[in-house]
């Protein structure tokens, strides 16, 4: 009952605020633009627009950013269908059936399927978000420092080990991130660490400049080398939405894929591309027309788009309840929440409950606005694909620099961003994943402070992490997560020799 009362009240506030509605619509439109433009990502969009939200109230600022996130997931389908190039990493799987449908002359229909699937995926994830988040927040309040340290450790191990065969590089990236979080004053003793007596380093490395440097700069640099074709507007845009009867044939697929997306979104680091891949695989196995997947089957588009929009709500759950981002976009959102004076974690609902409910209501509105923006903006978004790269990319660099400076009017922040941007570019060339380093920066302070607090409480006794059932369970899961992907990859490799690979594996 609490949930319904809070939600209805917040929804009323959001809908009765015309300025708020305009901002959410703006967020969705900008999200579509970032999603529809290959080389630009939702992470970039949120990072570059956070400084523009400074004058806004916290709930509207965060709602605008989340609207951008939802819009970008839906927008990523446009170049995936028209150019066989995913607009965002989450739309990779959409190319498998979206582009063949376009080649067969059904580009508009493919887009219609993607749009409906995105909205259903977003709404399902929103329902799970508003149901689970308050409950999980109450549960999280019962966790002690040992459990929090274990959760931070679990998040880092999942992220470090997510790609089989890259455990060493993933682990190194996490430790690099931890090292970046060390710089500054010790949170308990106040002792300067790696500061060399300089005032700037005593402030520590701020999270937002580090995130922009590690995530945005390398992505912008990589986009400078990509080759993109020119998109052609489909001739006939009438009746491109599927009918109710057509959709009912994909309803189960749509809902199942959305739930897979939510589940994947809750686990840190997996993200939209993993969610859509798992959903596509399941849809192909369970559909009686599974043999048509990869040749232009609507079910393939539905599975992918429902899952990647399902991830949006799922990724917000650990962010709001534990302060742990579910993916790179929510990592940026964490920075945004902190800048606007909100502390993500279990106490968020207690200390800023009204603001959080406004944000949740705005997420619903954003998901509903996707259909409006998607329907009327299709022609415009296709034109966005033709904006010359040599003008767009330098402009985004300027926004990144100015945006970083605007965070606290410190040139040092921009220096940090450029240094880490250079390091991120080198890491990208050396195939060292950057996201684990980002998680190390974000979770390093949490891991260290909770670990030290737990040891002070236990009198220096490390067995507290084994004797406390919660902490012991989480650490056991972390250890399994560390080695399981590699083990599974090796077993799969042994079996591949005797079994033919599936179409999905061949296509990817």
């Amino acid at each position: 009952m609490d949930i319904i009362t809070n939600l209805l009240s917040a929804l009323g506030d959001v809908l009765s605020n015309p300025w708020g509605m305009v901002l959410i619509l703006f967020g969705v439109v900008v999200g579509f633009i970032f999603g529809a433009t290959p080389g630009l990502t939702a992470t970039m969009g949120v990072a570059l627009f956070i400084p523009l939200t400074f004058p806004l109230p916290a709930d509207l600022a965060i709602a605008t950013m989340i609207a951008l996130y939802c819009g970008s997931m839906a927008g990523g389908a446009i170049p995936a269908i028209l150019l066989n190039i995913p607009g965002t990493p989450s739309a990779v799987v959409t190319t498998l059936d979206g582009y063949p449908m376009a080649k067969n002359g059904h580009a508009a229909k493919a887009y219609g399927w993607a749009l409906i699937a995105s909205i259903v995926g977003g709404l399902v994830s929103w329902l799970v978000l508003i149901t689970l988040a308050p409950t999980l927040a109450k549960l999280a309040l019962k966790l002690g420092p040992a459990e929090y340290a274990a959760i931070a450790f679990l998040a880092m191990t999942i992220i470090a080990s997510i790609v089989p065969g890259q455990l060493l590089k993933g682990a190194m990236a996490v430790v690099i991130g931890l090292g970046l979080s060390v710089v500054g004053l010790d949170p308990i003793t106040g002792e300067g660490r790696w500061t060399f007596g300089t005032l700037n380093l005593m402030r520590g490395i701020d999270m937002m400049p580090a995130l922009i440097g590690l995530l945005v700069i390398p992505e912008l640099l990589a986009s400078m080398f990509a080759r993109y074709g020119l998109a052609k507007l489909p001739y006939d845009l009438s009746n491109f939405l599927p009918t109710l009867k057509e959709w009912s044939g994909q309803a189960v697929n749509n809902l199942r894929s959305a739930l897979i997306g939510v589940a994947v979104g809750i686990i840190p680091a997996l993200g939209g591309s993993v969610g859509s891949l798992i959903a596509y695989d399941q849809a192909k196995r369970l559909d009686k027309d599974g043999h048509l997947y990869g040749k232009g089957a609507p079910g393939g588009i539905v599975a992918s788009e429902a899952a990647n929009n399902g991830v949006t709500g799922g990724a917000l759950i650990p962010l709001f309840t534990l302060g742990i981002p579910g993916d790179t976009v929510t990592a940026m959102l964490l920075g945004g929440l902190t800048i606007h004076g909100l502390q993500p974690g279990p106490r968020l609902f207690e200390t800023s409950g009204l603001i959080v409910w406004h944000i949740l209501a705005a997420v619903l509105v954003a998901n509903l606005l996707i259909i409006v923006v998607g329907l009327f903006g299709f022609r415009f978004f296709i034109r966005v694909l033709d904006v010359p790269r040599h003008l767009l990319t330098p402009a985004l660099f300027v926004l990144a620099v100015v945006g970083t400076y605007a965070l606290s009017n410190q040139v040092f922040d921009v220096v940090i961003m450029l240094v880490l941007g250079t390091a991120g570019f080198l890491m990208m060339l050396a195939s060292i994943p950057v996201y684990p380093a980002v998680i190390g920066v974000i979770l390093g302070p949490l891991l260290e402070s909770e670990l030290r607090r737990a040891l002070v409480i236990s009198g220096g006794d490390w067995s507290t992490f084994v004797t406390r059932p919660g902490a012991a369970t989480i650490i056991a899961i972390a250890i399994i997560a560390l080695f399981l992907p590699n083990l599974l990859a090796r077993l799969k490799g042994n079996r591949k020799g005797s079994k033919p690979t599936s179409n999905l594996e061949q296509n990817l």
């Binding site: 640099l221 660099f397 220096g460």
Partner: protein, 164 residues
């Protein structure tokens, strides 16, 4: 392109080892912990530099072995391996140098001139030389000027951020 990736792996290892050497003494000068109080301020710094040192060397060895066996280092290639490596290095490094120049120019000359210069130069860097005609360069200059003024106005007047 695979050679560039291997060289990048070498460079990362060298940088990380350099940082380990630089930060070794300050890390071990701090107290790591006590039996009753658990971890001290030096515990995480020590862990980081030892772990990074060991992992950096292990990663490099693995990459070298992988390159000698398969002609490629381990890991996903974010940049298409068909891309001309000279383009990647040339444009990538040049852009980073231009960004540093933008920041220095901002401090010395002010935001507007340095931003306009950065936008125009980077746009021309991304244009193939054959397209450096008046027809292409004039719009580049105009957009650099208009965009810089637009950003300056939004940040100074709307967001109250002093962009000198």
């Amino acid at each position: 392109m695979q050679q560039i990736r291997l060289v990048a792996s070498f460079a990362m290892t060298l940088i990380l080892i350099g940082l380990v050497v630089l930060l070794w003494e300050p890390s071990f000068a701090m107290q790591a912990g006590s039996r009753t109080a658990g971890l001290g301020s030096g515990a995480l710094p020590r862990f980081c530099i030892v772990a990074v040192g060991v992992l950096a060397v292990a990663v490099l060895i693995r990459d070298v072995i992988s390159y000698r066996r398969n002609g490629a280092i381990k890991g996903n290639a974010e940049i298409d391996t068909e891309t001309d490596p000279r383009r990647v290095l040339g444009i990538g490094l040049a852009t980073l140098v231009l960004l540093a120049g933008f920041l220095i120019g901002w401090q010395l000359l002010g935001f507007l001139p340095s931003s306009m210069a950065f936008l125009a130069t980077t746009s021309m860097l991304l244009l193939p030389k054959v397209r450096w005609t008046r027809h292409m360069l004039l719009p580049v200059l105009m957009i650099s000027i208009l965009f810089s003024i637009g950003v300056w106005a939004i940040f100074v007047y709307l967001l109250q951020v002093p962009l000198r």
